[in-house]
Amino acid sequence: MNEKNSDIFSRIESYYSDYGQRAKELKNEGKKIIGYVCSFIPLEIITAAGCVPFRMRGDIHEPITKGNINLETIACPFYRSCFDLSVKGRYDFLDGSIVAHACDSMARTYAVWKYTLDLPYSHFVNLPHTLSKSSMEFFNEELNTFRKSLGGFAGKEISDDDLAEAIGLYNENRDKVKALYELRKPDPPIISGTELTKILTVGASLPVAEANQLFDEVLEELGKRKESPLKKVRRIMIDGACVDNIELVKLIEDLGGNVVIDTLCNGTRDNLPHTDIGGDPVSALADRYLNKINCPRTYRENKEQDLHKDLESRFGDIGFYAREFKADGAILYVYKYCDPFGFEVPARKAYFDSIKLPLLYLEDEYSAGTIGQLKTRIQAFLEMLG
């Protein structure tokens, strides 16, 4: 970042490196901070309850130690890192945590999380796996249970109007993220992947209104960039789950690729889908979280027994993004022990093949210790792309 006078970027840097500093301040002001780890947590309900949702991060530089006392090493390494940091007190400003039925690593360890951290509030949001009419109705009820439970904790009955207001704020937030993504479309992009990862990561640690404010300032500052600070090199997509440390993206960019688009949880998966407005707010949220968030944990029925159509319905967003952002190659980045993504690797490969996008598949731990290994693979992949 060459803009010396852009103090917005140094603020982001500070929020990124001292993650949670704003949440701590808000806690001291008497706000209730509610931690979460996954895209499936309905943030609108937390905000409507007057609480502050806070996306917990892992730390690839911190070896997992204390977390292993109560949590098996066969769980998702990213989730274990978040748990380990929590046990070590990194997030001891939290008043509660919400876990979603996203995957076994989360669902099967809810008790471990709840009893070990022993926060004043915790809740498990049970998502259906299928998209049937009955599933949608069930999820609607389940969201209402959560709404009532959290309202009980926050001492506030969450009204439809509260929800509608929160939905409005989050939709605005998603518009701004979309605007940030638009800056990746030029070649070279106006904004690097490393910068954007930091911005989005930081955004998820703030109350949504503050995140909106921050994104506005970032957009204004970036509007002043007449020329891209980046080189015109190969444009890379990252396909995978949550990559909330900048190291992977930075490594790709240091090796001479521009990361221009992703399907990541803390990227497009979390940040782009909107909630419909006008109707019943809870149904609209149910639809957004269950239907619109495309994660392999949700089963999308192969209705016509047609392989091609099935791949298109499951992975069509990948192809859409690849075209929109003119990706030259993609990296499928999957954590070890991840059942939802792990079982899809052959199908995802088949899909990338069908859209003729060169692919590098990486299985990784959540640790800075593997960066050397990633480096050779990514460099070789960039050499392959030429």
């Binding site: 290994q373 050779t376 460099q379 070789a380 050499e383 392959m384």
Partner: protein, 266 residues
């Protein structure tokens, strides 16, 4: 091992030197040796490419290219029809699919010793034999032992136990080679192997291993004359292309500040 290849119209000299915690910094010494043998001063070298695991530790290189790309190029120069390369080195093992001397897909194992030549070194040490003897010993076995542990440390223990049970040494060695062949072929099969398959790296000098791998894959694999040098040869050829292209444009190739010294690492 640190390898240096110097090429003009053809290979002028090649040296295979040691790599270890101490020698890692000393790529310059191997380079000096190669220059001596070729009878050339360092300044006459028009372009230097560093590759492999230690490519970042070569302060006198003009460019770093991964071993994947270099192996592809090197192997294609010996075997124009090669489609798949299996490289088993001391640090790692990899499979590379190639087309016209360029990699089109690859898989790697550099996470675990049991899939690399290091596995054989450790087991040879445990059994008190020389690693060079393993191939011949294994070829004498008709009933390779089953080594079920995939972790080097556990496999080492298993080998000791089996030796105590009285299983003949040759069967154990054959079992160990089979186990490595198993792991490597399991990984390489992710590439949908096409023939012709070339085996490179130090392990390719082990006749027992070549046999075990061919058996596992179900068809013969070829080995280049100097299987340790294909990566270095590839690097040299890629460097030569860069230098020649620059020359065609009447420019000198983009080069780095060179120093034929050991690097400083903390």
């Amino acid at each position: 091992m640190t390898k240096v290849v110097i090429m003009g119209e053809e290979i002028m000299s090649s040296v295979i030197g040691p790599t270890g915690p101490e020698q890692r910094r000393l790529a310059n010494n191997v380079m000096k040796e190669a220059l001596n043998r070729a009878g050339l001063p360092f300044k006459s070298i028009s372009y230097v490419v560093a590759t492999g695991y230690g490519r970042i530790n070569v302060p006198f290189a003009d460019k770093q290219i991964t071993e994947i790309t270099c192996h592809a190029r090197g192997v294609a120069s010996f075997f124009p029809d090669a489609r798949t390369i299996i490289d088993i080195g001391g640090q790692d093992s990899k499979g590379i699919k190639i087309n016209n001397g360029r990699p089109i897909d690859f898989v790697m194992n550099d996470k675990c010793a049991a899939g690399s030549g290091r596995f054989l070194e450790i087991i040879a040490d445990t059994l008190g034999i020389k690693i060079e003897e393993m191939g011949e010993l294994a070829l004498q076995s008709k009933n390779p032992a089953v080594i079920s542990n995939i972790c080097t440390i556990f496999a080492e223990q298993e080998v000791v136990d089996k030796l105590a049970e009285g299983i003949p040494l040759k069967n154990l060695v054959a079992g160990i080679l089979e186990s490595l062949a198993n792991r490597v072929s399991r990984m390489v099969k992710r590439l949908k192997i096409e023939r012709e398959v070339i085996l490179t790296g130090g392990v390719a000098k082990n006749a027992g291993m070549v046999q075990a791998l061919s058996d596992k894959l179900g068809y013969p694999v070829s080995v280049p004359p100097e299987p340790l040098l294909t990566g270095a040869v590839g690097a040299t050829l890629l460097g030569k292309e860069i230098a020649q292209k620059a020359k065609e444009r009447d420019e000198s190739p983009e080069r780095k500040e060179r120093s034929l010294k050991e690097i400083e690492i903390l």
